[in-house]
């Protein structure tokens, strides 16, 4: 079995983010690393974050830094990754790519202890960069420029120190003196030797300054001083005239200012009033804002509170360090303060956000200062505060993030054309159920009812140079309605359009006149109001029209074509006639190319299932240039230029190809390339879009022509980052559409459906899915469907207070603050399950997180949710530190209750210092109220955590620690029927098929078991020889399992056919062999048939098809919030083709950050039988000559390769 791996949704979580001017100029940009993806984001004028570029780098980005050479206008990007190389990138604005400027190898690849890449520090003047490892190694590279002003990089200078752990590094701003880097270090060599523990307790972290002597080209330890043992992060303090220089050391509970030859200035970080005493406060992310006259730091704690740190200084002497409460936003992994007054917050989990500064915390607020620091016998006295609503920041945009995906299932619950993906996302109060549908999200601007059922709609400008459309023209069966676009949209009668007849086409013609084509003629409305009418000869009527700005072709009933052109005076002149053999089904003319008089091609579709290309050149006017036969009668035609290659902001520097698109009556969209010179058709491709014949319309997306296809659902064909994408829109079926541009809405679409006129815009281009989110209360763990109607979700959180306790705590707070009413509101909100998302809620948990409780406290709930109305119909909070971990529906053999719900829980679970629990339980619930609510039947105590539950032959199988047990339903409790205690560690998944049971162990991969009814025995007949830390499992077929492990691998194991047959034929079912027992393992071993390193922890797997009538692929979801698919190849030819393409791409186009592609995909185990579609899909981004070279080696043309890539993608989604 060969699989094609394709990422459907790129990772949405962010590892780290930096900001700067990467494209030069004034615009502020953000570069974010999403694990293995590097993105360039830019907030647009309206404050929406736009993704400018997204590159898959096939490696793990661990750190990012930006620097600027003195006097330069542009920032460079330094990437610390797992490649054992330092890579410097430059954003190329013209081609819209990252250019690799330098790549220097310094060590082995992989995330190793002593190979640098974990930390990056930059000299603030851009003269040197330090790259560090967790232990020992630190390398300094000198950055300079050569005579041609190109960036140069030196050979590395070592700043190693053995037996030393590094916690953080940063550059020290010392103006144009020798560059200095600061590091928090800890020497462990003595602690490792001393068995008394004395040395370990005396081990002290040090702040060390490393000086790079630019004259001697040498790095030396300049200064080292003991620092608080809780230190974890360094922040550069501006220096060299702008400030006092030195560093801020962020430690647990403290922030300390340190500099060489300067006494420490220490301030305590204010604590939340409700924080348990044993918990510290740790700074997890920091951002600096620097202006000419002032600077300040924003420091965020692990609870989400942001503090503004300021230094009172007098030249180089710091008198006071102040830490003032600023605002609270969800915990971030990185924050970026943009010069334009925005704060980009890359959340650890959940949606990222862009905030605008309203103020910079000048007002009085809770503040800790070094001047008022009090030291008592119990240590330093903390300052307390209560989080409040945002005062200094206001959120203006959100970037959706699925991180982390906890569970996922693909199911067509809503009976739509394609199945929906249900994902459990997020953590704690920010968790949600997200329903993903393939397609682009749209935002509806207006819907208005019309007096009848319209058949068509157009928009027209009055003049070519106008920015916005002037009229919306709607055609009905026997009338035409003209609406003028202004402040409001209203009906007008002075437009010159004939309103007593239906229209066939309305458009701008020439520079400033309008044309209306109706069945009996053409009405040409000149700019000064003169009207010219052309009438059809005899009783014939016009049936079809094709036009562009200077050319019009009409088809009369019977099949006669008449061709008009606009002459120099703006008159519409008849040029040529042509008799077709039969009625014309559809027509289209390509738009007039820039600087030309006319477009050369006319496409005519006929009912005899052919499409003809006719010439419109004066020399051979109306000559047939080529004929293409198609599978069904074409209903609609559209010429579209496609520049399917990267380059420029979103287009290409390569010649575009002209595509003829045809919507066929069987619902297929047929696309074929038109030769620009000869008009020959070649390289056709087709795709089924829906049950209705697609109608094609040209609209404008991001200033370029795109294609809207209206079948039983709407689709959009557009170019995104060099790829031509054809994506469904998540909107109802439409009848007719036109592009729409007005003051309020620059790039919209106006469409008719039923008797309504709709205006909408298309959002977030380039995304594969659009999502509907339903908020949940706690971290969701697992869910099941019940009767394809409702979802049962289990949620649990450690170290949080129960709903009642939280409510009481809040009330207390609000009463103290005199805000009783709000507190009450909040209480109600709590009761209906936290579903309401009230942004103005003064203490919304979503923003502030749940108050922290002791780590042995658990909260948990079981929720029954109706996804159609997104209402929670039943919510059971578990009491007494009980938390739910597993859920399944089960039909016991006694049919008394029908389907029951089993939930596995644990009480008082603790991981630290040792894993322990009070007891585990299996709850059995009965569905009442037509499956909308649950009623507890009984609760059975078990000795461990039931992490896996599954129905098996009318009984319940439970994996409880290392025990697999079979239960039957009793009156008061579950009854043990059979068990096997011989599993190595902890069972995390149980799946069954026929009489086989597939058990996943937390550490030891899969075990295949059988149950013998006659002897009432469970036994293992096969297991895996590789230790795998299973995080997700899915049953594929009788002999095959798909699994994922903690280190980011996806693998398939299969029981060899002969072994499988033998076991099935053996009357004892292989039991004898098992009883003999060899080396504690099972007698048979499964074989690994597929292995692939995804590079991200996969948490859920499912076999499903995302397109109607498509083959199954394995869909997975990951912690970083990405979704991917593994599609089995059906033909050997495809396998050959793609493996060769992959091989050539590996050679010709190595990944951006220096990790070898093959090595990355084989990071833990050699990749086996999986072709990386993400790499293959980089083909169109290659330079044209390289594309040709690879295509030649594969004996194909680049276009054929693109077509292949498109085809295989269309098989998945």
């Amino acid at each position: 079995m060969y699989l094609y791996s394709l990422t459907l949704q790129k990772a949405t979580g962010i590892v780290c983010a930096i900001n700067g001017n990467f494209s030069g100029g004034k615009s502020q940009e953000i570069v974010v690393a999403r694990g293995k993806i590097l993105d360039l984001l830019r907030p647009d004028d309206s404050g929406k974050i736009q993704t400018v570029l997204s590159v898959e780098i096939f490696g793990a980005v661990r750190s990012l830094a930006q620097f600027r050479l003195t006097g330069a206008q542009k920032d460079y990007i330094v990437v610390g990754s797992d490649s054992g190389r330092i890579v410097i990138l430059e954003f190329n604005k013209e081609k819209n790519v990252f250019d690799k400027i330098h790549q220097e190898t310094f060590g082995k690849s992989g995330c190793r202890r002593i190979v640098p890449g974990q930390y990056l520090a930059i000299d603030p003047k851009g003269r040197a960069v330090m790259i560090g490892a967790c232990e020992k190694q630190k390398l300094v590279y000198v950055l300079n420029r050569d005579t041609a002003a190109r960036l140069t990089i030196s050979s590395p200078l070592e700043a190693h120190k053995s037996h030393t752990i590094t916690y953080s590094i940063c550059g020290v701003d010392c103006g144009f003196d020798n560059p200095i880097f600061a590091a928090i270090e800890l020497d462990y060599s003595e602690a490792d030797q001393d068995s008394t523990g004395q040395a370990a307790s005396e081990a002290q972290k040090h702040l060390t300054f490393y000086e790079l002597d630019l004259g001697l080209n040498h790095v030396s330890r300049k200064w080292s001083e003991a620092v608080d043992n809780g230190a974890n992060m360094l922040v550069t303090v501006p220096g060299g005239g702008d400030g006092p220089s030195g560093v801020l050391v962020c430690a647990e509970n403290f922030v300390i200012y340190k500099n060489q030859g300067h006494p420490d200035v220490r301030a305590v970080i204010p604590r939340r009033a409700d924080l348990p005493a044993e918990r510290g406060v740790l700074i997890v992310s920091a951002a600096t804002h620097k202006q000419k006259s002032m600077f300040f730091f924003l420091l965020q704690t692990e609870y989400g509170d942001i503090f503004k740190a300021t230094l009172e200084h007098d030249g180089e002497h710091v008198q006071e360090l102040r830490i003032k409460y600023f605002d609270t936003i969800p915990v971030t992994s990185s924050m970026c303060v943009l010069k334009s007054g925005f704060l980009f917050a890359a959340s650890e989990f959940g949606n990222h956000a862009l905030y605008q500064f309203q103020a910079i915390g000048e007002e009085a607020d809770v503040e800790a200062s070094s001047a008022t620091l009090m030291e008592t016998e119990e240590g330093f006295q903390p300052v307390f505060f209560q989080p409040r609503s945002l005062k200094n920041l206001v959120r203006i945009d959100q970037v959706e993030s699925l991180m982390p995906i906890m569970d996922m299932k693909v199911e067509n619950l809503f009976e739509e054309e394609t199945p929906q993906i249900f994902t459990l996302c997020g953590r704690g109060p920010r968790s949600s159920l997200r329903i993903l549908r393939p397609g682009l999200a749209i935002s509806e601007m207006a819907v208005s009812q019309l007096p009848g059922v319209p058949s068509a709609v157009w928009t027209v400008k009055k003049n070519l140079i106008d920015e916005f459309d002037a009229y919306i023209v709607v055609s009905f069966a026997n009338a035409t309605l003209v609406l003028s676009i202004g402040e409001t949209v209203e009906e007008v009668s002075d437009s010159g359009f004939l309103d007593t007849t239906p229209s066939l086409a309305v458009s701008l013609i020439g520079d400033d006149s309008l044309m209306q084509v109706h069945p009996s003629g053409i009405r040409h409305i000149r700019e000064d109001g003169r009207i010219n009418e052309w009438r059809t000869p005899g009783k014939r009527t016009i049936v079809k029209v094709g036009s562009n700005r200077l050319q019009v072709v009409i088809a009369l009933s019977g099949g006669e074509l008449i061709y008009f052109e606009v002459d120099m005076t703006g008159q519409l002149m008849e040029v040529e006639k042509h008799e077709m053999s039969g009625d014309v089904a559809c027509l289209d003319i390509a738009p007039v190319p820039e600087g030309r008089q006319r477009s050369r091609f006319l496409a005519v579709g006929s009912y005899d299932n052919t499409i003809r290309i006719l010439s419109l050149d004066p020399d051979d006017c109306m000559q047939i240039l080529s004929v293409q036969s198609v599978s069904a009668a074409p209903e609609s035609l559209l010429f579209l230029e496609v520049q399917a290659s990267i380059g420029g902001e979103d287009g290409a520097d390569h010649p575009a190809s002209l595509f003829l698109n045809a919507g066929l009556s069987n619902g297929v969209l047929f696309r074929t390339v038109v030769d620009m010179v000869t008009g020959q058709l070649s390289d056709s491709r087709s795709r089924f879009l829906g049950l209705k014949a697609p109608k094609l319309f040209s609209i404008v997306i991001r200033g370029r022509r795109a294609m809207l296809c209206l079948s039983s659902r709407p689709w959009l064909g557009y170019i995104h980052q060099g790829h031509f994408l054809l994506t469904p829109l998540s909107y109802e079926a439409l009848e007719y559409a036109a592009s729409f541009s007005s003051d309020q809405c620059a790039e919209g679409v106006v469409a008719v459906a039923g008797d309504a006129l709709r205006v909408f815009t298309i959002e977030r281009l380039g995304e594969t899915f659009n999502e509907t989110a339903i908020p949940l209360r706690y971290t969701p763990r697992k869910f099941v469907f019940h009767k394809k109607k409702s979802l049962i979700i289990i949620e649990s959180d450690q170290g949080a207070f129960t709903a009642e306790e939280r409510e009481a705590g809040k009330k207390e707070f609000f009463e103290a603050a005199g805000m009783g009413e709000n507190g009450n509101n909040n209480g109600e909100q709590m009761e209906n399950g936290g579903d309401d998302e009230d942004k103005n809620d003064p203490l919304s948990d979503e923003q502030y997180g749940y108050p922290k409780a002791e780590s042995d406290k658990w909260v948990s709930c079981i929720r029954v949710l109706d996804p159609k109305t997104s209402n929670t119909t039943c919510l059971l909070e578990l009491q007494d530190n009980e938390a739910a971990y597993s859920v399944c529906t089960v039909n016991f053999r006694e049919k008394e209750y029908g389907t029951l719900l089993a939930v596995g829980t644990a009480k008082g679970l603790q991981f630290w210092p040792r894993r322990s629990l009070a007891s585990g339980f299996i709850h059995i619930y009965r569905f009442v109220d037509d499956g909308r609510a649950l009623e507890l039947l009984h609760k059975t105590q078990v000795e461990g955590v039931p992490l896996a539950l599954c129905q098996f032959q009318g009984r319940l199988l439970a994996g409880i620690g290392p025990v697999l047990r079979l239960y039957d339903l009793g009156k008061k409790r579950l009854l043990r029927k059979c068990e096997n205690k011989l599993f190595p560690n902890t069972i995390v998944s149980v799946q069954t098929y026929r009489d086989r049971i597939y058990v996943g162990d937390i550490q030891e991969s899969f075990h295949y078991c059988k149950y013998r009814r006659d002897e009432n025995q469970l036994y293992v007949f096969a297991d895996d020889s590789v230790p795998r830390w299973v995080t997700a499992a899915h049953h594929i077929d009788f002999d095959t399992m798909a699994g994922a492990d903690k280190f980011g691998n996806v693998y398939f194991v299969r029981l060899p056919q002969d072994v499988s047959d033998e076991i099935e034929e053996d009357p004892t079912g292989g039991k004898i062999k098992w009883e003999q027992g060899k080396l504690n393992g099972a007698p048979n071993k499964v074989e690994e048939i597929v292995q692939f390193h995804v590079g991200d922890v996969v948490t859920c797997l499912q076999k499903a098809s995302l397109i109607p009538g498509g083959g199954d692929s394995v869909i997975y979801g990951t912690v970083m919030g990405s979704l991917g698919a593994l599609l089995p190849f059906t033909s050997r030819d495809d396998v050959d083709f793609f493996s060769h393409l992959e091989m050539h791409l590996r050679q010709e186009y190595p990944p951006l950050c220096g990790r070898d592609h093959m090595a990355y995909r084989s990071a833990y185990f050699p990749v086996k039988d999986v072709i990386d579609g993400d790499l293959c899909e980089q083909f169109p981004t290659l330079p044209m000559d390289m594309q040709r070279k690879i295509a030649d080696e594969l004996d194909r043309t680049p276009a054929e390769i693109l077509k292949k890539l498109e085809e295989v993608r269309n098989k998945i989604i």
């Binding site: 979580g13 590892v15 694990g35 793990a60 661990r62 797992d82 995330c111 190793r112 202890r113 002593i114 890449g117 974990q118 490892a133 967790c134 232990e135 020992k136 053995s162 752990i165 916690y167 800890l186 462990y188 602690a191 490792d192 030797q193 001393d194 068995s195 008394t196 523990g197 370990a200 974890n232 647990e252 740790l282 700074i283 997890v284 992310s285 692990e302 609870y303 915990v331 992994s333 650890e348 989990f349 991180m403 982390p404 906890m406 953590r427 704690g428 971290t779 959180d797 450690q798 170290g799 949080a800 780590s855 991981f911 903690k1046 280190f1047 980011g1048 922890v1097 990951t1118 912690v1119 970083m1120």
Partner: protein, 87 residues
């Protein structure tokens, strides 16, 4: 030291041990071995962000705290070293 000493197996091994932390030797005891493995593991967790996030979800802590905890554990990953027999 003679020139030939530089190429014998022992000095090569010593070179490796000095260069690559964690390279074993014949007298490595169980504790030292375990300490190395643990430090390597923690460094790997800290380096792989998705794994860090995975732990953070399990323990309901922030990723930053989780990273700090792992780095702190690098000091004595296996508790105190055993007493030396020869001392």
């Amino acid at each position: 030291m003679q020139a030939s000493d530089r190429f014998n197996i022992n000095s090569q091994l010593e070179h490796l041990q000095a260069k690559y932390v964690g390279t074993g030797h014949a007298d490595l005891n169980r504790f030292e071995w375990a300490v190395n493995i643990q430090r390597d593991s923690y460094a790997s967790y800290v380096g792989h962000y998705p794994i860090l996030a995975y732990f953070a979800i399990a323990e309901n802590e922030s990723i930053g705290r989780e990273r700090y905890n792992f780095m702190q554990k690098m000091l004595l990953p296996c508790g105190l070293p055993p007493e030396r027999e020869d001392d």
